[in-house]
């Protein structure tokens, strides 16, 4: 069973502190970029639950990201609702229902067919938002910044997401909470079952588990969290468009998970950081930046089979004084081979 080594948690805590203090001295442009990364990281983590833990390679995960974003946009632009206490439940329910319906059909297939059917559903939703006049068409919609989600208690506004600093810290808090939530879920009896399903689905069924149900629930949890990330994205950019559900977006988030290291939760966070920062850096140097990015992805996949997380994990293990323990190294080797 995959375990996160203790030094990693220490590094992650340090990373969270660094993110918390960064806006105090960081360049405004990069503070905004980090906010973008954090939203993307939540999105990618939700996909990791499917790909890295349950073994369900979804190529349509952007569908739920988009549903979350469009639900947010509809409430703000059509109904003039900015109250987070209304928007958030609607977003979560919309994403969960979408995931339930798509998941119900998709989990009946596996392997390449699962990839294709999730992609097909995402494309259907893409055209649903793209073609229906109600949804503002191909260009999407700009949301009024004053109308962005806020949380108020009586007349006192507690959180106003149109304030970029507030948004930054909300996104950071959500990232930490999402990581904690998924970590807890993966340690639960449910988590054990879905990891078992990835390793040996047939045996899990023979042991008495209704594999379909567990897959479906995993799919709904992942889709709901992705919808939440879509809500954050709509609030961050005050802009929603069909591109949020495009297969490029599904592909991008899949690349982030693979690049970062699937089945680790923190891998996708690292993947999101590295990919966005690299994109920013390389696109400033050369107009062939997409080519360079592609090359980078190929190199990582070739030389770091466990992604960036695998590299970090190896380095973190070295930080620990070697223990006179015979059992452990074998275990690590096998784990690494399995991921």
């Amino acid at each position: 069973m995959p375990r996160t080594p203790l030094p990693i948690y220490v590094l992650l805590a340090l990373g969270a502190v660094a993110l918390a203090v960064y806006p105090l001295f960081g360049d405004v442009f990069y503070v905004r970029l980090v906010a973008k990364v954090m939203v993307l990281a939540i999105f990618a983590m939700s996909l990791d639950l499917l790909v890295g833990y349950a073994g369900l390679v979804s190529f349509g995960h952007a569908a739920f990201f988009g549903v979350g974003a469009y639900a947010t946009a509809a409430l703000i632009a059509k109904a003039g609702i900015a109250d987070m206490a209304i928007i958030l439940p609607v977003v979560l329910v919309a994403a969960a229902v979408a995931a339930l319906v798509i998941g119900w059909f998709s989990i009946r297939t596996s392997g390449i067919y699962f990839i294709m059917i999730t992609l097909a559903f995402a494309q259907m939703l893409y055209f649903f938002f793209h073609d229906l006049p109600f949804w503002w068409g191909a260009d999407g919609v700009n949301l009024p910044r004053r109308g962005l989600p806020r949380l108020a208690f009586g007349d006192t506004v507690i959180l106003d997401l149109s304030d970029r600093t507030v948004f930054y810290y909300v996104a950071l808090a959500c990232l930490v909470l999402a990581f904690a939530l998924l970590t807890i879920i993966l340690r639960s009896p449910f988590g054990r079952v879905i990891v078992g399903i990835r390793v040996n689905e047939n045996r899990v069924r023979a042991l008495g588990y209704n594999v379909q149900n567990y897959k479906l629930v995993a799919f709904v949890i992942a889709g709901t969290l992705a919808g939440f990330a879509g809500f954050l994205e709509a609030s961050r950019t005050a802009f929603v468009a069909p591109a949020h559900l495009s297969w490029h977006e599904s592909g991008l988030v899949l690349v982030i998970v693979l690049l970062g290291g699937m089945g680790t939760l923190y891998g996708p966070i690292l993947g999101a950081f590295v990919l966005v920062m690299l994109e920013d850096w390389v696109s400033g140097i050369t107009e062939f930046w997409l080519l360079v990015m592609g090359l980078f992805v190929i190199l990582v996949v070739l030389f770091l089979p466990n992604g960036i997380a695998g590299l970090v994990s190896t380095l973190a293990q070295r930080l620990r004084p070697p223990k006179p323990d015979v059992g452990k190294p074998v275990e690590r080797e096998v784990e690494a081979a399995d991921v």
């Binding site: 069973m1 807890i184 879920i185 340690r187 639960s188 009896p189 449910f190 988590g191 054990r192 079952v193 078992g196 390793v199 040996n200 047939n202 045996r203 899990v204 069924r205 023979a206 042991l207 008495g208 588990y209 209704n210 594999v211 149900n213 567990y214 629930v217 059992g327 074998v330 275990e331 096998v334 784990e335 081979a337 399995d338």
Partner: protein, 253 residues
């Protein structure tokens, strides 16, 4: 016949033109060790796959404790107290021995749709898993990844995982296959012990082991039941000797 735990009626399974299991009508009595023997390709594993819900039958019915389970899926059959071990080792290679049995033990929680408390707080699951590991003789291997264990030990774990689900009826598909003689002796001892308070349906090529533990034998050839009887009856049967036991001797030359 109230002490019949499992019965099949005209059970068949085809793969295209091949009839792997052909009209098998058998009843298995509670508390007995019922061995099924037969040459390679006789359809023994396929029969187990039908009984355990792994495969749907092409025809016929299966009744467990008088209840029709012909269409039940593998997970449903398991929850009804039927455990199975696989001929081809089917374990979680990257999990430790303990984690393998844990997953078996956890399946007896009312539901594993529990999301917020760590699995490790479920003490009854841990106790069940430890009992199963002890029974199959792998206590010293508890924290070893299954993939790093010897082949024989993986075979033991195969049985341990099944025991962790605390089944009443055990479907054992060649539990001794590929084991060293030392381990085989251990497992035969285990089978004898299990026989005291379980019903066993045992497929095994090792005749010494079969004769040592079985109360009743069924001989299968080409998907059909050739004969069912006690060890003595089967040993004495001319038809069986011609079709199978003799065959085996012939194969030895």
């Amino acid at each position: 016949m109230s002490d019949v735990i499992l019965e099949t009626d005209g059970l068949s399974r085809t793969f295209g033109a091949l009839v792997a299991v052909d009209g098998v009508t058998l009843s298995f009595r509670r508390g007995q060790v019922h061995a099924i023997i037969g040459p390679n390709g006789a359809g023994k594993t396929t029969l187990i796959n039908l009984l355990s819900g792994e495969l749907p039958p092409s025809a016929g019915t299966i009744k467990l404790r008088g209840r029709d389970i012909t269409r039940a899926k593998a997970d449903e059959v398991s929850l009804l107290g039927v455990g199975r071990s696989f001929q081809k080792t089917n374990i979680f290679q990257s999990f430790t021995c303990f984690e393998n049995c844990w997953l078996g033990a956890q399946s007896r929680l009312p539901t594993s749709m529990r999301f917020f408390r760590p699995a490790s707080v479920y003490r009854e699951v841990e106790a069940r898993a430890r009992r199963a590991i002890e029974l199959c003789g792998l206590t010293h291997r508890c924290d070893t990844p299954a993939g790093a264990m010897s082949y024989g030990e993986q075979r033991q774990l195969e049985i341990g995982m099944m025991l962790a689900t605390e089944p009443e009826l055990l479907l054992l598909d060649e539990p001794l296959a590929g084991m060293g003689s030392e381990e085989a002796v251990q497992v035969v001892e285990l089978l004898k012990r299990l026989a005291a308070d379980h019903t066993l349906i045992l497929i095994e090529h090792d005749m010494d082991a079969v004769f040592a533990v079985a109360d009743l034998l069924t001989v299968m050839v080409n998907g059909r039941v050739l004969e069912t009887g006690t060890v003595e009856q089967i040993r004495a049967s001319k038809a069986v000797r011609e079709a199978y036991l003799g065959d085996e001797e012939g194969g030895g030359h």
